[in-house]
Every structure is written in C-alpha cells, then in structure tokens.
Symmetry: C5
Subunit: 311 residues, 5 copies
C-alpha cells in the first residue's frame, strides 16, 4: 500500500495512511492498496462490508457505481493482453471528497501510465484523477477492438486463401472471446452513463461533461463488439464452404479418374474374353490399335470433363 | 413443521405454533413447514387462498414478491445437483413483522446451511434472516454456472480432439438445461430488483441495500447464462464440422485407394487381352517388368496424392 | 341462446332475454349466445357495431379488453385438442354491472366445465363468473404446453435412437404450431395484465388481485413457449446430424467393401496377364496359394479398417 | 384531377377546384388528384413544400401522419397484386376541416371501391371518408397475408412431396417479399396508433375509436408477418433436408450396385488367372456352377442391403 | 482554411478569420477548415478541448449533437464511393449564432455541391446552411442503399444462374459492408431526431420541421439496411444450395457411369474365365452376341437412370 499526497500532479509519499483521513491543506490523497490491505482501510474510511466483499471476490466483477454517504464506490475492469490472451482485471475505486483509494489484486498498467498525465495536467482534485484513470482504462479497449478486427480480417483472408482444420478452433476461440467481452461491455456503458448523467456531488459538474466523452467511447466499443459478433458469421461461412468445397473437389478428381478408367478396363475385358473370333484380335497391330483406341477414349473423357469444368 | 424462536441467532424450539401469532418480547419466530402442513397455518397468519394454492402447486414456480396486508409472500427457486442433473425447488416464504414462515415440498439445503450464519451474525430480525437465506440460494446459482461453463469448455475440447456421436446428445442436453435455466433467471432478477428498490415497510431500509448486492449477483448470473447459450453455438459448429470432416477424410482415403488401383488393374487388363503380339509379353522378365511398372505407377500416384494433401 | 339468472351459483332459466336488461333483485344474468344470435342482443344491451363485427369475424381474434360506457368487451381464445391438432376458438364476453354475455361460434368446453365451480363457490357477481371462466381458459394452455413439451422430448429421443425421414415433417409441424401459438400468447398476456392492473369499475378491486394470479400463469405459458421455440433447434440439429451421419455410414461401408476388393481384383488381374513366366503360375498349389494371399490381404484390410473405426 | 362535393355520400362534380377552398353549406369536398397536378393545389390549400416533395418522390414512402396548421398530411401504402407480384403504392391524403385531397401517382383500387360504401353510410364528413378509405386499404393486407400463408403451406407440402431445384428460387423470392412487406408494416402500425390515440382536432373523438379497430388489424397483420418470416425457416429446412436426402439416396443406390458387382468380378478374376490347377475349372458344369455361385452372392448381398434398409 | 461571408447565398471571401468573431451586419460567416487548422480557431470561438480532440481523432466518429454555451458541435459522417468501396468521412460542424465552421480531414463532396443550393435559396442564416448541408449528406446514403440493393439482386441472380466459388467472397464482403454501415446508421438517426425534436435555440423552430424530413429519411435508410442484412441470408442459402447441388450432380454423373460399366465388365470377366465349356464361347458370332448383350445392358441402365431422373 502506497499513500501519496498529490498537489498539482506532484506526489509526496506519506508514511502513515491515517494521515489521509483528514483533508490536506492542498491537493488530495491517493491510496494505492492491494486487496489484502483493505482490512486496515475499512474502519478508517468507513467502507461498507459489501464493498470490501466485492473487492475481495475472485469472481469477475460487473462495472458499477455505488453512492455511499461520504464516498463513491466504483468498479471498472481494466483490459490487457498477454501472449494472445485477453484478461479483465477489476479496478476498485473509492472516491472521497479529499482522497481516492484504488484497490487491485493484480498489477494494472493504467495506474502507472496515468502518472505522467497527472503531472502534465497539474491535477489537484480526486475527481479529476478519477477521470484520467478511467479515460486510460477505456481507451485500452479500443486497442483490443482493433486487434480483434485485425484477427477477423486476417482469418477471413486466410480461410478464403487456404482453409485449414485449425481455423475451426481459431474461429471458436475468437467467438468465445468476443462473447465474453460483449457481456462485460454492457455494465461498463451503464457505469459511464451514470458518471456522466447522475447528479453526483463528489464530481465537479464541469467534469461530468468529460465523463460524457468517455461514455461515448464506451458506446462506440460496445457497438463495435456487436458488429464483431455478427462478422464472425462470415468466418464460419467461409470455413464451412471452403472446407466442404475442397473435400468435394478432391473426391471429384478421384472419382473422375476412376470413371475414366472404367471404359478402358472394360475394353481390355472384352479382349480378355475367351471367345472365338474376337474381331481383329489376330491382326498384327491389334495390341497397338487397341491401346490407341483406349488412349483416345481416355483422353477424350478427360478433355470432356475438363471442358464441362467437372475436373 | 418446526417452530423456532430466534434470539440473536439462537434457536429455541416452540411446541405450539399458535404462540407465534403474537410477537415475542425479543427476536422473531421461524416456522419451517412442509406444504402439507400449510392448511393449519393459513387461518393463524391470514394467508391468502392464492398464496396457499401457489405453495401447493406441483408446477414450476416463477420467483415473485407479493405484498399483502401484514405480510409479504416471496417465492424463489433453490437450485441443486443430483447425479449430474439440475433441479429447481420452490422455496415459499411468508415474511411478517415478527415471524418468517418457510414452506417447501422437498428438502432445501439452504434452510440448513443458513443456520450457522444466523448464529454468527446474531440475527434478531426476520428480514435479516430473509436476506441471509436468499443470499445463500442465489450464491448456489454461481456453482451451477461454473459447472456449466466447465462442461462447455470440456465438451468443446473433447469435440475438437476426437468427435464422437454421443457428443450430439450431450450438446442437446446441455442446451436444454441452459434454456430452461435461462427462463427461470428472468423473474428471479425481477424479484431481487423489487426487494432492493421497492418501498417495503417490512424490510429495513438499510438492509435493502444488501438485497441490491444479491440483485447484482442475479444479474451477473443471468448475463452469464445468456453468454452460455451463445457459446453453445460453438459446440454445435465444432461437432458438425469435425464429424463431417472426419467422414470426408475416411471416404477420401477409400476413394484414393480405389483410384490408385484403377490404372494398375487397367494394365493387367491390357496384358490380359487375348490379342496377338502384345508388346513384350514373351520377354523373359515381362512379368517382373510389368510388376515394376505397376509399383512405380501405384507409388507414384500415392506420393502425388500425399504431396497434394489429398490423402 | 340461453338466458340464465345466476343466484349463489344456482341457475334459473329465463325465457325472454329482454328481462335481463334490468338488474335482478339478487344475482346476475348470464346470456350464452351463438354469434348468429348477436343481432337481437345488440340493441338491448347497447353493443357497439365494431364489437359485433369482431364477434362475427371468422378470422383469428386477438385477445383484448375494450372499456365501453356501461359494459366491457373482452375477447380471449379458448384452446382445445382434437385428433392431435390444436384449435383456438374465440370466446367473446360482454361484462355489464348485472349481466355477462358470452358469444361463441363453436362449442367451448370451458363454458360447460365452469358451471360446477360456480355452484361450489356460490358465485353471485358477473365479475366473479368472469374470473372463473378465464381461469379455466388459461389453465387449459398448460395442458397444451405439457403436451408440446412431451412431444419435443419424445421426438428428440426418437430421432437420437433411430432417425426416420418422417421426423422432418413432424419437426416442421411442431414448429409451425409453436410459432402460431406464440403469436397468440402475446396479446393474451396484455389482456390479463389489463384485467389485473387497469382501474376497472365493473370489476371488484379485491377480485383484480385474483386476475393477477391468472396473469402470472399467462406469463409462465408465454415464457414456456419461447423456450419451446428455442428447443426446436435441438430437434433440427439431431435430425440433420443423425441423417447425415447415417447416410455417411452406409456409404462408408459400401466404399470400404469396394476398396477391399480392389487389390484382390488387381492380383487376379496380374495372374490373368498373358505373359510368359508369371512367377509361380505353374506350381501345383499356385491357385490355393494365391487365394490364401488374397484372403490375407482382404481380411487384413478389413481388420485394419475396423481398428481405425472406419468400418 | 376530379373535384367532388360529397353530401350524404352523394357526389356532385365541381368544375373549378378553387370553389373547394371555402367550406360548402353541407357535406365536404373530395379532390382526387394525380401527383403532377399537385402544383396547382399547393397555394390554394397552403400545402407545405416538404409535403409536396414527399408526394412527388418516386421512392417508397413510409406511412405517417403530419399535423399541420389547418390540415393533416397522411401517407399510407395501398397493396395490390398483379401477376403474382406484390406492389405497394403510396396514397397521399390531405385532410382539412371541409375537404379531403387524395394524391396518387398510379391507380389505387380503394379510391374506387370506397365509393359505394360512402353512399351506403351517407358519409357527410371528410374524417369519416378518411376512416372508410384507410379501412379498405388495411383490409387488403389481410388478403396478401392469406395468400402468403397459402403459398407457404403449398410450398412446404410440395417440397416434402417432391423437392425440385426451382423450389430454392421460390423460397428466396417468398422470403424477400415477406421481409420487404414486414419493413413497411412497422410504420403503418405507428400511423394507425396515432390516428387512434393522438389528440386530433380534425377527427371526431367518437370516430377515433373506429381507427382503433383498424389499428388492431394493422397489429394483427404485422404479427402475422413476423410469424411468416419465422415459418420460412421450415421451408428452408425441408428443402435442404429433402434435397440432400434425395442426392444421398441416389448415390447410395449407385454405390450399392457397384459394391454388389465387386465380389462377382473378383470371382471372375480368380477363374481368369492363368495358373494351373484352378480348382474345378475343368468340370463339365464349372461355368454354370460359378454363375450360380455368383448369382447367390449377388442376390445375397442385394437382399442383405435391402434388409438393412441400405438400398 | 477559407472564411466566407454569406449574404443571400452569395459568398465574399474574408482574409482574416478573426473578423468572423463578431457578427456581420447581414448574413453569416462560413469557415471551412482542415482539422490541422483547428488550433487557431479554438481560442477565437471558444471551442472545447474535447470537441477539438474529436475532430483530430482518426477513429471512426459517432454522429452526435453537443450543445455548448454559444455554439453547437455536430458530427455527421459523409458517405462516398471510390472504386467499388464505401468510405465514411467525418464532417465536424460548429454552429454559432452568426457563423458555421466546418472541419474535415479529407475532401467532402457535399461541401462543394451545397453551394449552388445556397445561392438558389438565397440562404442568409447559418442554421439554414446546416439544414441544406445535412440534407445532402443524408441523401447520399440512399444512393449507397440503392447500390447495395442492386448488388444483392444481381448476386442473387448470378448465384441462381451459375454459382462460382468467387461468389462466396462477394457475399462475405457485401455482408461486412452492410454490417459496418448499419452500425453507423443508429447514431445518425439519433442525431437527426435531436435536431428535429430537442429545444434548440440556435435553430429556428420553423426549420426544425425540415430536419424532421431528414430524420424520416435517416429512419428509412436504417430500416432498409436492416432488411438488406436479412436479405443476405438469401444469398448465403442460394450459394450453399447451388454449390452443394452442383457438386452432387457431377459426382452423380461420375458414379452413374461407373455403375453402368460394372455389369459390363462383369460379363467380360465371366467370359474371361479359364473354365471349360463357357456357354456359347465357341459360337462363331459369340463376340458380337456378347457385345450386343453388353450394349443392351449398358444402354438399358442408362435409359433407366435417365427416366428416374438420376442422371
Ligand atoms: Mg457484491
Ligand atoms: Mg467467467
Ligand atoms: Mg460471472
Ligand atoms: Mg478501430
Ligand atoms: Mg475458452
Ligand atoms: Mg454434405
Ligand atoms: Mg398462482
Ligand atoms: Mg411451467
Ligand atoms: Mg417445466
Ligand atoms: Mg464463474
Ligand atoms: Mg431433456
Ligand atoms: Mg426466455
Ligand atoms: Mg448479455
Ligand atoms: Mg375489429
Ligand atoms: Mg391463421
Ligand atoms: Mg390472422
Ligand atoms: Mg409443465
Ligand atoms: Mg401446417
Ligand atoms: Mg421468455
Ligand atoms: Mg420527405
Ligand atoms: Mg425499396
Ligand atoms: Mg427505401
Ligand atoms: Mg388469415
Ligand atoms: Mg426480388
Ligand atoms: Mg409476434
Ligand atoms: Mg471524444
Ligand atoms: Mg472500423
Ligand atoms: Mg469504431
Ligand atoms: Mg431504393
Ligand atoms: Mg473487409
Ligand atoms: Mg426494420
């Protein structure tokens, strides 16, 4: 747990978190805690049992805003990539008049990357801090969206070019990811709508307009994911059609070859019969004549099938 | 039927249920009845005919809250596993100012497992009892959700690894279960929204905030089941594609073998013809030469098909 | 047309319908008319032209409640079975302060089966009569629902056990029935919601709570039909997969047999060639040796295909 | 352009349309104009530029009601059949206090067929004229609905009986028509809801109840088309299953025949081998014995395949 | 950046944009800027940081209306064709009391084509300018809609006539385009609804009625795109059925040919057996007789398969 006094975006580390209970003469306190350290903060800042329970939960959290006496409780999910997998990590925030407490179980990049912005914007208020933090969290969803869009386009092209059986698993994994993310985007939109529109005393009215900008982004992301889900239908269709088409084509070639050899074998059968007076069997060039005939029949059929686009 | 006086979470068994009609000096009464015992309770607590009818019904019940003069009637479904099957069991609750009546047809685990919590939290009010009871009921849905998620993931993997015809039945059963549970989750959400948001005199205002926490869980579960339903599409697709793919592959091998033997048989046919002067038929090593030719043709085709990925 | 004076559930037949225009000293009048007899009732009870038009229409009717000066006009569809087919029959009801008029084109069972209930409950008011009548109408939908559920389960099992081509037609008919009934269930819910919630002077406030119970049933039925529609997807899938699987399997057996005979025929071809010095052709047991070889090759392939689960 | 003075349903032709600007002593004016004649009417009746633009547009029109100072502008689409094709034709109506202007590009049957009704009902008000006109327009949709229902049922039966490739095109055309009509039915419902429920000064309150009756019909039609769209799924399924089934069956017969001849040809191959001591080759009835054996094998296989339902 | 003073639709170029800060004696200023020139305008017209950020963004923009102190910020997407591809280009508009600022990244045709209209209508107000500009932007969507409709119809016909593998890619591309455009049409409807219905001081009330006309068009376009998406199902179905049908047909011909040659080859096999006393083998015309028999069998089978429609 790190307690910082933030004044015009400049951090001063505070030793004892209890100092943060009363308002500073200037700026605000930012307490950055691990979920396991929450127990000691609860009595100091009057956190509700249910809030603590939510922070401690290892389940996926629904983004939300809860208005309590003296502070707000905000949950939002940060998104990140690691080795081609997408992870959602709950970021729990307690926003007070003169402090902001961020509670996380795992490292969340945005808590680090927000720092230079605070300095640059000379942030002096906890609600402004909240805005920049959530702004960064939501912006990262665009990166994931772009990546998914790229994967869809790439996969579509791959499948149309050269379908492989492994594409099926890729389609299925991609759809799973899109469906799970879509589920998470609904409540995120609601949270940002609340931060923009609800009458919130701890957030400056001017600032709420800025949350409207993030809300717009959240809506854009959710709409994009709805479209991704629909586009997956393209992949499925391309995969099934291409695979079936390729299987049919190979079978067609095999069957065509068999079909071409049938009449040839039939001719050899005729001249293989042990009957008297097979016409021409005793001519000198009989064998060559028959071979010539068979060549003509075989290539004739081959040419015919080709011309009919059957082969 | 068991009648208990509950004081700070401690139970005292009461012999005569009629004692529970008037408020105790401290704590509240909990009457735990079987549906068949409801007849004797109806006049004592002024239960409505329609309420009794609902409790007696053997049909699946929709979760609901009905506000009556003097008491509330609450129906919620408890979920449980037995031998890989999911059962919903109606839990009927009558909440009064100084009593709570639970009416069930079958054993409901939550009525047992809630007891230690009552003791620990020193529960002294019927509405707090109600909260802990419903909290446990709803939490059990998460277990079912996790189990279904596991089954989906497992089945997906199984199908992609080695599709079997029995997977079809498993997919169908899984989808049925998800669809029936989804249907039950809609009204459960409504019930918990009502307990959280409606103006309810028999439930402490502070406590209604706690019901909001359960409502949030109910929403999470319902969203998860919507996603499960969509994910089932993955299973269907994996099954169909894999099965069709496997069938095609086997047929392809068979057909390829047939196709390879066609020209070989054709060559034997040529030399089986009863014509004079078959070229080379009387050479000493004719048979071996032809066998060699046929090996070359056969393996040539085999190699060609392999290289084209047709075999 | 039958006109009855109903007092505490006891019927007294009235000769002249005009008597029913003015209120009885006790009880109410129930006029049970055929649509063709409506013309004579219209002026007596001030029925609206559009109401009469609706009753006379041979089209399917949408359930509805229309509030007129002095009476309500209610349309609901009764459901019944005949020879495995489902029929909806419009039941038109005019509810007045002291009378109820039921107008039908065909026999409706509920009009008969409601009578013992009236006697038992000693019904003395037309709105109570209306409640019991609609209660019975809606309850019958559960029977249809259960029947459809049974058919779905049975068909699913049949298809998985032994798919037949006739199953396709059964699936299609079942889906048609479910889709048409689903369409009818939406407005039925609306009607019952109106009877429960709207401010209706001709229906006792206490009684409206009872209509809420029917409304709950109507919602349950509609939700069940939504689920039936989704479950039909299971049948379609089971049918298509099973049929395709069976067709593939038969073809596989045929093709495998052909494939097994190809090398055997090839061997006979080799020894059928008219070349000198066929190796071993003049050994005494050549024929038996070759037959033995062919047996080994044939059964070897058969065994191989079996072990690979291809046959 | 025809200008008529309508008194108790009786028409009197008016030469100069400018007469219609001021109210008649009795009845109302009906101006029936072609869209090209609208220019001369615009200044006389104070029509808005946007209204005129809508009338002149050759695009499909959305049904709507626009309330202007002094008149209403109503657009509704008339439906008609010609050679198995469905056409929507915009009917533009300007309703004033003492006049109604109908503006069309093509002939609309309802403008002719409404005349006898006006006479019979002795219509004396433009809003009553409007009611009868729209009533007829909407009733025609039922005819189209019934026709589509008949085509669906017929096609379903045809497909199940004897699937043809042309059925695919029929299904596709039918679905297109249903989808385009469905799109048109949404705004039509809205228009009729507005005519029924909005506070409209130019329409008699008593009459608005009658528009409610048409609104009910518009809702019925829209619900029916939703169901038609869902039923199309049945056709698609029947077509695909039947076609695939038939293709499989033919292939199965071919393959079975081939499979039956394989062992027979194999036997001839054995006795075609040029090896010494073929067992029984020199018996007198060898040929007949072998032919007998081959008959037994061939018919045995045929019988076996039949019994297994493979053929 | 071009600054123009617009008086009755006539343009006068202004050198210094700072002149546009104060209202002209007559008409209004139109500043047509590139996004890179926005920095200099921001302080002059008091543009908000978030507005500038939106203009500078290279992401796709959601159409929207933001009401600020002193000006409105409007974003709408212009649509255009280039080489069979569809592009959306953000058009950012700042509407003030006496000025309108249009900010774009790329050339937008409507900004050029609106000029003659301004002159013709003698536009003197910035809100009227806005109306004509947006009217043109939205009208262009109809062109795209018509083009998509044509492509769907054309593709449907092509596929039914002669299915090609490239059709799959065309279907997939078409569906992608429709899905992405559909996503963009939702917020466009909202924007136009706001311009029509919200209480907007900077837009003349009379003029808002005109925006209602554009809103109607936006709704029409959105409904058409919903229908296009549904119609794509037709294409998919035609493609899959035709391709599968054609593949089946070719295979059927091949297999039929093979099947026809089987019994013929069998007959040759019989007479190829090295057994004594082959019936008729030593008749003079044996070879011709057998060839005749084989011709009869072969053509008989061919004729039979044809009559059964198998070939
Ligand atoms: Mg919680
Ligand atoms: Mg999860
Ligand atoms: Mg969850
Ligand atoms: Mg992007
Ligand atoms: Mg996964
Ligand atoms: Mg297939
Ligand atoms: Mg009930
Ligand atoms: Mg039920
Ligand atoms: Mg059930
Ligand atoms: Mg979980
Ligand atoms: Mg089941
Ligand atoms: Mg449902
Ligand atoms: Mg969801
Ligand atoms: Mg009617
Ligand atoms: Mg019908
Ligand atoms: Mg109907
Ligand atoms: Mg049931
Ligand atoms: Mg039917
Ligand atoms: Mg439902
Ligand atoms: Mg217009
Ligand atoms: Mg059109
Ligand atoms: Mg259009
Ligand atoms: Mg009909
Ligand atoms: Mg068409
Ligand atoms: Mg419907
Ligand atoms: Mg923005
Ligand atoms: Mg994009
Ligand atoms: Mg986007
Ligand atoms: Mg068009
Ligand atoms: Mg693309
Ligand atoms: Mg639509």
């Amino acid at each position: 747990m790190k307690t910082r006094l933030v004044r015009k975006g400049v951090f001063t580390l505070i030793e004892d978190v209890r100092e943060a209970v009363s308002p500073p003469s200037e700026g605000f306190y930012w307490i950055d805690a691990h979920v396991d350290e929450l127990a000691s903060l609860q009595p100091l800042f009057g956190l509700h049992d249910l809030e603590v329970e939510d922070c401690l939960s290892e389940e996926e959290q629904r983004p939300k805003l809860e208005v309590h006496e003296g502070h707000y409780f905000i949950v939002i999910n940060s998104i990140r990539f690691d080795d081609e997998e997408i992870f959602l990590r709950a970021l729990n925030i307690f926003l007070g008049r003169h402090y902001i407490i961020t509670v996380t179980r795992q490292k969340i990049n945005e808590l680090r990357s927000v720092k230079p912005i605070l300095l640059q914007e000379q942030v002096d208020q906890p609600d402004v801090f909240l805005y920049h933090l959530i702004d960064r969290v939501v912006d990262n969803y665009f990166l994931v969206g772009d990546r998914i869009e790229t994967r869809i386009d790439q996969l579509e092209e791959d499948i149309l070019m050269h379908t492989k059986k492994s594409h099926l698993e890729e389609i299925i994994n991609l759809r799973s990811e899109i469906l799970w993310l879509r589920k998470a985007l609904g409540p995120q939109k609601e949270l940002l709508h609340a931060l923009n529109k609800r009458d919130l005393k701890l957030i400056d009215n001017q600032l709420q307009h800025y949350f409207g900008d993030i809300h717009e982004n959240a809506v854009k992301i959710a709409e994009a994911f709805d479209t991704y889900r629909d586009l997956i239908g393209n992949l499925r269709e391309a995969y099934q059609s291409s695979l079936a088409g390729r299987a049919n084509e190979i079978m067609r070639v095999f069957t065509a070859l068999t079909t071409i050899f049938m009449p040839l074998t039939f001719i050899t059968g005729i001249y293989g019969m042990n009957v008297d007076n097979l016409p021409g069997a005793h001519y000198r060039w009989a064998a060559y004549g028959l071979l010539g005939l068979m060549l003509v029949v075989g290539f004739g059929m081959f040419y015919l099938f080709r011309r009919k686009n059957w082969l």
